[in-house]
Every structure is written in structure tokens, then in C-alpha cells.
């Protein structure tokens, strides 16, 4: 990082914008991982059969595991306002409270509630008071957002619910919060008492972004090694454990699609955002830690060795992809970080498709991408916002990349035409953050290449007759 800053200016990135005719998941899919992450929550998606059908099919077996989410399925009478939204929602939330007793109900607004202008934000506080359960409203709809941005809308709403220090000090709530915390992690008590010796003194730091618990532990541990203490995580394991966020706190994102959350934390909660690359890949993880350390005034220790060690461990996978080209069709906003990591692995990137590009929130990552291209001596890729899948297929046909990272709608047809593909959604659900998980990313990226390498002598790489048009 410091080394790079002495070098001459990095190359300019090219940004393009197409028609937005691309395939991605509906942002309501975020309930699938968020209800698992926030254990005492219940997600109510207020939408139609279309939304329900998507969730039920996209989430596969999860749907059978008594999920803590449901549809409030709108019927014709709701659309034509023959039924009263407030009464209907009250009836449903009453039932949810009775059956599941959650600590929070998250309402997911959909396209339909947008179009019929259902005043969810207005109804929620009234119902909340009546029901005695917090109701958080997130408008995660396909009119405005793509796939992972759904999480962003939920976390942005949750950010407003994080308590302030002064509130926590109020006695009643304090005991309650602590009681639950003690109950949940009684073992950490010993650690808490002597934490002052292990950590440097620095302003409070809260991280945002939903990650599986093992990854949370892992990243927490990485920062602990540097003596940096994480004071909280948005979201926490339980809604009742949302972190304290006060004016002047530092916040840092762990995922590239959290721009609304970042904005909310800065503007509404008066936090200071640490704009870093994201901890994806060993290069990203190191840059992320270094940036956080530099902001909170800690001298990082042993990161270069740590990164080198990881690179050594994944060398066998790097060898497989080195010199190969990759094409991101774009659907989950992880594309920039993944492309940057793969370029560092020695791949070339033809195109980075991405649904939405927040150049401010992703600035650290974009700079790091340009720098990585320069250091690896490869051409900077074109970043195509709101891509057009049809056009992309023409380009893929023309340049024949070694690997296309794409959604399931295109994966099988491309494979049938002899093009290696990796299903992009897996990157959203796999554990890809931190030093430890670098291997998992490459496990995913190399899988099609390893598989097709096994099959290459069989002579059936193309399984459709090549038509004139694609």
C-alpha cells in the first residue's frame, strides 16, 4: 500500500453503461441469508405470488427448514384498496407474533407495494407501538435494486435502530441487553476483562455487512492480531444485540454492495467511513486491514508475511488460472473485488459487468483495481454498468474468454457452446472474506477449469449445433 503510493499515477478505468437488460436475482432474496444471520428476526415480504415463487425456488431446500420468513401475499382486494393495509398487516403480524415471537419483524417492500404506494414506513411505527415488536421497513424491490443490494436496504434501515451510548446507559434497557449478551456468550467474559491489554487505544470501530459467523470470528481475529478492537457489527447475531453507534464512531464495510448503509451511517449516525478495498482475496484483506489500521492510528504488523504465506498456500490453484481470461457478466456487485483478486492471481479480465457502480463507496476498491492492473502489467478492464446480456453474449462469442462468471440462466447454454462458466451466485453464499477463505474463492473459480480439464479428451466440448446467431 505505502509502496504503491510512491509510484506514478495508476491507469484510468473505463466505465460504460448499457441498457440494463440483464439477469439477476430479485433483491428480496436477501431475506434468505439475513433471516439466518439475525436469529431472532422474522422477515415478512409484502408482495405477490411472483415474489413468493421466486423465493421458494431460488432458496431451494432452505424453504423446507421452517424459515423465519413468509409472504404477505397481496390479493386483488389489496391492490384495489378494498382492504385496509393497516388492518391486514396487523392481522398478519399478530399471527407472526403469536406463532414465532420474534424480536423484530422486517417488512420487505416490493415492486407492488411501491406501485400501489403502500405507506409501509408510515404504518410501521403505529403498528410497532400497538404490537410491542420493532418493525423495520426495507424497500428491497426490483424496480430500484439488484440482488445483494437487498441486504443494503435492510442494513440501512437497521442502522437507524442501532442504540446510542446514552440510550444503553438507561438502566432498564442496559440490564436487558446485557442479560441476553451474557446468556449468549458467557465465555467471552474473561476476554472482556483483560481486553485493554490486547488492544491499542483507538476510537470505536463498527463493521457493517452480513457475513456467516465463522467469517465474522475470523475477521475479528485478524484485526485483533493488529490490536484493533471491533466494537460491534451491523448486523449482529441477534436484533437485540445491534451495536451501539454514536457520533464520531468509525465504520468500515466488508462488502462492495453496501453503499446505502454507508451513506446512512455517515449522514444519519454521523460516523466516519473508512473507505478501503474489501477483504476479498489475500490482497484485499491485507489492504483492508492496512487501511483500517492507518485510520485508527495503529502500525500493522506482519501483514506482508501473512499475505505471502496465503499466496504460497494457494499457489496450486493460481497456477491453474494464470494467464487465462475471465468475463464477468455482472449480477451481484462483488465483481470489482473479485476481478481485482483474479487479476492479482494472473488472470486477464475482459469485461466487468456490474449492476450498479457506486464510485464513491467503492473508491478504495477501484483504485486498488487500477493499481493491481498496473502492477500485473495487464490492460484495465472495461467496467460495464447495467449491462445488456444479449450484447454481452455477442462479445463473449467473439472473444471466447476462458471463463465466464454468470447467472444460472446463461450458464448451461454457454457450457453447451464450449465456454467454461462459473455460477456467480455461489460467490454470494460461499465464504470468501479474509485471508483464510482465499482458497475457497479459487476453489470456485478453478472448478469449471479443473472439471473440463478432466473431460477435455472426450471430444464433446460443444453440444449444440452452432447457429448463425447466438
Amino acid at each position: 500500500m505505502t509502496l504503491a503510493q510512491e509510484k506514478p499515477a495508476t491507469p484510468e478505468l473505463n466505465f460504460e453503461c448499457e441498457t440494463g437488460n440483464y439477469h439477476t436475482f430479485c433483491p428480496i432474496s436477501c431475506v434468505a441469508w439475513l433471516y439466518q444471520k439475525i436469529e431472532d428476526s422474522f422477515f415478512l415480504v409484502i408482495g405477490t405470488k411472483t415474489c413468493g415463487y421466486f423465493l421458494q425456488n431460488a432458496m431451494g431446500v432452505m424453504i423446507f427448514a421452517e424459515p423465519r420468513y413468509a409472504m404477505a401475499e397481496l390479493e386483488e382486494a389489496d391492490i384495489s384498496a378494498q382492504l385496509n393495509d393497516y388492518n391486514e398487516l396487523k392481522r398478519l403480524c399478530d399471527q407472526i407474533k403469536r406463532d414465532r415471537n420474534p424480536s423484530v419483524i422486517v417488512w420487505i417492500g416490493t415492486c407492488t407495494t411501491e406501485i400501489i404506494k403502500m405507506d409501509l414506513e408510515g404504518i410501521a411505527p403505529k403498528l410497532e407501538a400497538e404490537l410491542g415488536i420493532p418493525i423495520v421497513v426495507a424497500r428491497a424491490n426490483g424496480l430500484d435494486y439488484a440482488f445483494t443490494q437487498g441486504e443494503d436496504t435492510v442494513l440501512a434501515s437497521m442502522a437507524n435502530r442501532c442504540p446510542k451510548e446514552s440510550e444503553v446507559k438507561q438502566e432498564a434497557e442496559k440490564t436487558e441487553r446485557n442479560a441476553i449478551q451474557k446468556l449468549m456468550n458467557f465465555g467471552k467474559k474473561a476476554e472482556d476483562t483483560n481486553h485493554n491489554e490486547e488492544y491499542h487505544k483507538h476510537p470505536p470501530l463498527v463493521l457493517f455487512g452480513s457475513l456467516p459467523d465463522p467469517v465474522v470470528t475470523n475477521l475479528t481475529l485478524e484485526l485483533k492480531k493488529q490490536g484493533v478492537k471491533i466494537d460491534g457489527w451491523l448486523p449482529a447475531k441477534r436484533y437485540t444485540e445491534l451495536p451501539v453507534i454514536d457520533e464520531g464512531y468509525y465504520v468500515a464495510g466488508v462488502n462492495p454492495f453496501l453503499s446505502r448503509t454507508a451513506t446512512t451511517l455517515m449522514r444519519r449516525r454521523k460516523c466516519k467511513l473508512i473507505g478501503a478495498p474489501f477483504p476479498i482475496g489475500p490482497d484485499g484483506t491485507r489492504a483492508w486491514i492496512e487501511k483500517i489500521c492507518s485510520v485508527v492510528g495503529v502500525e500493522p504488523q506482519g501483514l506482508a508475511e501473512r499475505e505471502a504465506q496465503i499466496w504460497e498456500n494457494i499457489q496450486d490453484y493460481v497456477d491453474i488460472i494464470k494467464g487465462k481470461s475471465v468475463f464477468f457478466m455482472g449480477d451481484n456487485l462483488l465483481e470489482i473485488s473479485l476481478a481485482r483478486f483474479l487479476i492479482r492471481c494472473g488472470m486477464t479480465v475482459d469485461e466487468i459487468g456490474i449492476p450498479y457502480m457506486d464510485k464513491r463507496y467503492q473508491k478504495g476498491e477501484l483504485d486498488f483495481l487500477a493499481q493491481t492492473c498496473q502492477e500485473m502489467g495487464v490492460k484495465v478492464p472495461t467496467i460495464v454498468e447495467k449491462p445488456d446480456n444479449y450484447n454481452q453474449l455477442q462479445r463473449i462469442k467473439e472473444i471466447k474468454p476462458d471463463l465466464v462468471i454468470t447467472g444460472m440462466a446463461h450458464a448451461n447454454p454457454l457450457e453447451a457452446r464450449g465456454i467454461n462458466t462459473k455460477w456467480s451466485v455461489e460467490f454470494t453464499f460461499a465464504q470468501i472474506h479474509g485471508f483464510t477463505n482465499a482458497r475457497d474463492i479459487l476453489e470456485l473459480v478453478t472448478r469449471p477449469l479443473r472439471r473440463n480439464n478432466n473431460l477435455k479428451d472426450l471430444g464433446w466440448s460443444k453440444l449444440v449445433k452452432e447457429e448463425a446467431k447466438i
Binding site: 440494463g20 437488460n21 440483464y22 439477476t24 430479485c26 428480496i28 405477490t48 405470488k49 411472483t50 413468493g52 415463487y53 421466486f54 421458494q56 425456488n57 431460488a58 423446507f64 424459515p67 413468509a70 409472504m71 404477505a72 401475499e73 397481496l74 390479493e75 386483488e76 382492504l83 391486514e88 392481522r91 398478519l92 399471527q95 407472526i96 415492486c111 407492488t112 406501485i115 400501489i116 424491490n141 426490483g142 424496480l143 430500484d144 435494486y145 440482488f147 459467523d213 465463522p214 470470528t217 475470523n218 481475529l221 504465506q309 496465503i310 498456500n313 444479449y390 444460472m408 440462466a409 450458464a411 448451461n412 447454454p413 453447451a416 483464510t436 482458497r439 453440444l463 449444440v464 446467431k469
Partner: protein
């Protein structure tokens, strides 16, 4: 508003898309927000389709909300017309476009001016019909459109074929075992000496639709899809319909006898009785199975059946009539066609359940405690929870219900497949019986423990907790690899740090 965790039949547009994408060279354009093109994923994954699904979206976003689709839909239709040269583009409304109430009919008319192919607006109301009804309607709509077009142009073929011939109506993409059924029906027709005039909509070209009337009759194998079309053809051309699903030995025979009646009425003079007897005794094993000792053991065992009308009704009849199994409950989620279902099954089961609420069915199953369930994927999971075996007989289905091997449900080979499915679903009759008598397989406790069961290494509480978070099916591997790593490096205690180090070095 309705609190719903799961649904049996999908939204209307899925039905329309299933029809459109079943035809050859027909493209569907959905008027829908980003993310509603999930149909493409399902088709590509479930059917393992090699070709791009001919469905695109004309995206409804904020701008559309503010100013209407204006040129967008028209442009998208015309663009697709040029890119892909489809014979027909079906503009497909979704729940979103239903409430926007834009004049899609007008967009279609305008797009038609600049398109070489035909353009049609699917006439389905999202809030009134479900996937199945919409599919039925869309198929009728397309057929009607091309029949009228041919009539206007004067090239409709109404003259019957020289030999008896049939249109098979209702084979579609994402239908439960539809492609296997189709192959079986083709074979059955060939055996009966009946020519296939057209198969609709599967892989049909819209150009061939003008030839529909030359068939002697229409065969509609599934209750849910094709009847509207068949009724229309009956009214328009007086074409007779055979709508008996040839599923199970008795129903297959009934279907063939009906075909015989229909074509003899048009002067064919065929007698299929010998064919039916030969097939029943020698091709289908189902008749023999019902006499065998295996099947005897199933006598009076309790079963619950749930699914779409076609499959639930047919399986109920097979279980009761052909195998002597006691169907305590038969149900369907086709609420809109409930009377038909009641009429079909009421004499073959104790109770009929008409419901779209999976919770209601699960409760009924839990209460009745059948020995086996025949239902959808949802009932399979209920069965898993209650430890009751389940055979999947109807959609909604997962990828394992799109088998590569030949597994029809219809016709004589279908009877064999169904026999296997039913027999294998019940805990194997004799085995079950013997286990009961002798009190289980293993009566002694296992003495020797596996190698990985105990180890000399101590996992601290945090690491143990972390290990427990690893999904069960890989936990053993992670544990072994971590311990191996720790042993090699001389760690006595496994902490979180050791775990991560192990993961980094060996991918544990």
C-alpha cells in the same frame, strides 16, 4: 392479504412462459421489473436446457413508473424481432404490469407494424388465474390466433388425413415428466396404428398449426393443460377430444377404448381389445404385480395422496383399485377445478382435501400417519420430518424430478415406473414385516469405535464451537484435517487460530 410460506402453483406469467418457450422459435418478452426473469434459471437448471431460454424482460424501473413504458416495450419487441427472427413474440404481463394498467394491447399493435414476426399479448390476469390456468389459456390463445390467421388467409387444412391421426395437446416445458410421457404416447399411438399429426406445444412450429384440423381427434393427457384448446377445436371443427389420462393399467385401457370409439365413429374400424390384453399381461408388469406376494403385503396399508388434479386422481385410483392400498386422504391444490377432482376420486378414498395451504396438508398427514405419502416435493419434506416415505408424483418439483433416464408416468411403460415408485416408497413389504417380528437388524451395541471418534487432541471451547458450526457432512473432514495439521506441527490444543491456520494450509 394472505400469510403464505409456500405455494403449489406458480404465478400466471410462469404458465404463459412455459407455453411460449415450449414452441419452437417463439420468444416471450416479459413486462417486468429486474429479477422477474427467474423462469430462465428454472428452465436452464431443471431441464438442463442447452439453449438460451427464449424469454427476455422489458424492464420496468423507476423511469417506467414515472413516465410509463412509452417506447420501451415496443422497442424491445422490435429489437428482439430483428435479433432472433422469431415467428411469434408473446408479450407477457406480470403482477407488476397488471397494476400499472398500461395499454399493452396498443404496444403490441404498434410493435406489429415494425416486426416481421407475429406479436401477441398474453391474455392472462395475474390476480385471477394461476400458472396452470394461464398456461391453458395461453395455449388456446396462440392456437386460436394461428387458426384464425390461416382461415383468413385461406390456407387452413381441414381435410382429414387418410389414416387415423391425433394431435397430442398439453406437452410442455417444466411439466412433470412431460418429455418421457410424450415419447411413451408416441409409441402407444404407433402401436395403435395412429399417426401423430401434431404435438402441441412442445417443439411445435407455429407454421404447422394450420394443420391441426386434419387430425381425427385430440388427445389431452393432462387435465390442467390443453382442454381449453381441445374444446375450442371441438367447437370450431367438431374435432372429438379424448381426455382420459392413460395413467395406470385400468385408465390406459379406458383411454384406448375411448380412442377406438372415437375413430371407429369416423369409419376406422379398429379393435384394440387384443392389444390391450397383450400389453396388460406382457408389457406392463403392473397387472402381474398386483397379484404377486409383494403387493399382497401392501394390502390395506394407509396412504395419503396430494398433487395436481391429473396425477393425484390417477395415483389414487391406481393405489386403491389396482393395488388394494387404503387411501385415507386424496387431495389437490387445483382449487379452481375441485369438482372434477371430487368426482374422480371420491369413491376411491376416505377423504378429499382441496387446499393450497401446505400447512393444512402437513397437519393432515401428521394426524393420519400413513405408511407412505404420494405428493409433491413439499410432501416429501413433510414425510422426511415425520419419518414417512414419500414418492413424488406431481409438481412443484426439484431437479431430481427431471431424470435423464426414461421415466414416463403414462402408458404401459408408465405403469411399470409407477409400480416401482409405489413399491419402493413403502418400506419394503416383506423386509418390514420380518424386522417387526425379529425386532430390528442390530440388537447388539456397536463396540469398536471409528478412528475419528476419539482423539488425543484437546479442542478448546471456542474451536469446538466453531467446529460445530461447520455443516455436518464436512465436519468430520475438517476435524480430521485440523487434527492432522496440529499433530504435524506439535500443537496439543486446538484453538481457533490453529483451526484457521489448518484451513489456510490444507483447505480443511
Amino acid at each position: 392479504m394472505k400469510l403464505a410460506y409456500w405455494m403449489y402453483a406458480g404465478p400466471a406469467h410462469i404458465g404463459t412462459l412455459r407455453i411460449a418457450s415450449s414452441f419452437k422459435n417463439v420468444h416471450a418478452i416479459m413486462h417486468a421489473p429486474l429479477g422477474d426473469d427467474y423462469f430462465n434459471v428454472m428452465r436452464s437448471m431443471l431441464e438442463r436446457e442447452r439453449d438460451f431460454t427464449p424469454v427476455t424482460a422489458s424492464i420496468v424501473d423507476r423511469n417506467v413508473l414515472a413516465r410509463g413504458s412509452q417506447e420501451k416495450v415496443v422497442d424491445n419487441i422490435v429489437r428482439k424481432d430483428q435479433e432472433e427472427n422469431p415467428d411469434l413474440i408473446v408479450l407477457t404481463p406480470t403482477c407488476t404490469s397488471s397494476i400499472l394498467q398500461e395499454d399493452l394491447e396498443n404496444f403490441v399493435a404498434r410493435a406489429q407494424i415494425d416486426s416481421k414476426g407475429d406479436v401477441l399479448l398474453a391474455d392472462v390476469n395475474h390476480y385471477r388465474v394461476n400458472e396452470l390456468q394461464a398456461a391453458d389459456r395461453t395455449l388456446e390463445q396462440i392456437i386460436q390466433y394461428y387458426i384464425r390467421k390461416a382461415q383468413k388467409k385461406g390456407d387452413i387444412v381441414t381435410e382429414k388425413t387418410a389414416n387415423p391421426s391425433v394431435n397430442i395437446i398439453g406437452i410442455s416445458t417444466l411439466g412433470f415428466h412431460n418429455h418421457h410421457d410424450c415419447r411413451e404416447l408416441k409409441k402407444l399411438m404407433a402401436d395403435l396404428g395412429i399417426e401423430i399429426n401434431l404435438i402441441i406445444p412442445d417443439n411445435a412450429s407455429v407454421h404447422d398449426l394450420k394443420k391441426i384440423p386434419q387430425a381425427w381427434f385430440n388427445l389431452v393427457p393432462y387435465r390442467e393443460l390443453g382442454l381449453m384448446t381441445a374444446n375450442y377445436l371441438k367447437e370450431e371443427f367438431g374435432m372429438p377430444t379424448v381426455d382420459i389420462t392413460p395413467m395406470g393399467v385400468v385408465e390406459t385401457a379406458r383411454c384406448i377404448r375411448k380412442i377406438q370409439e372415437v375413430i371407429n365413429a369416423q369409419g376406422a374400424n379398429v379393435d384394440y381389445e387384443d392389444f390391450i390384453e397383450y400389453q396388460t399381461l406382457h408389457v406392463s408388469e403392473a397387472a402381474w404385480f398386483s397379484r404377486s406376494i409383494d403387493c399382497q403385503n401392501l394390502t390395506g396399508k394407509k396412504a395419503v395422496v396430494f398433487g395436481d388434479n391429473t396425477h393425484a386422481a390417477a395415483i389414487t385410483k391406481i393405489l386403491t383399485r389396482e393395488m388394494g392400498i387404503h387411501v385415507v386422504l386424496a387431495g389437490t391444490y387445483c382449487k379452481y377445478d375441485a369438482d372434477w377432482f371430487r368426482k374422480e376420486v371420491s369413491e376411491y378414498c376416505d377423504n378429499v382435501l382441496i387446499s393450497e395451504d401446505n400447512g393444512e396438508i402437513a397437519d393432515a398427514i401428521a394426524k393420519l400417519e400413513p405408511a407412505a405419502i404420494f405428493g409433491t416435493q413439499m410432501e416429501r419434506h413433510v414425510g422426511k420430518r415425520l419419518d414417512i416415505p414419500c414418492g413424488v408424483i406431481a409438481a412443484p418439483i426439484h431437479i431430481q424430478n427431471f431424470p435423464i433416464g426414461y421415466k414416463p408416468f403414462l402408458g404401459y411403460e408408465g405403469t411399470n415406473q409407477i409400480t416401482d415408485l409405489i413399491y419402493n416408497s413403502f418400506t419394503l413389504g416383506m423386509e418390514d414385516h420380518l424386522l417387526e417380528i425379529f425386532g430390528g437388524h442390530d440388537t447388539k451395541e456397536v463396540i469398536t469405535k471409528g478412528i475419528s471418534a476419539n482423539s488425543d487432541l484437546n479442542w478448546d471451547r471456542e474451536a469446538q464451537g466453531e467446529l460445530n458450526k461447520v455443516p455436518g457432512f464436512v465436519r468430520g473432514k475438517v476435524k480430521r484435517n485440523t487434527e492432522k495439521f496440529a499433530r504435524e506441527r506439535g500443537f496439543n490444543e486446538i484453538t481457533l487460530e490453529v483451526m484457521y491456520a489448518a484451513k489456510e494450509s490444507v483447505g480443511a
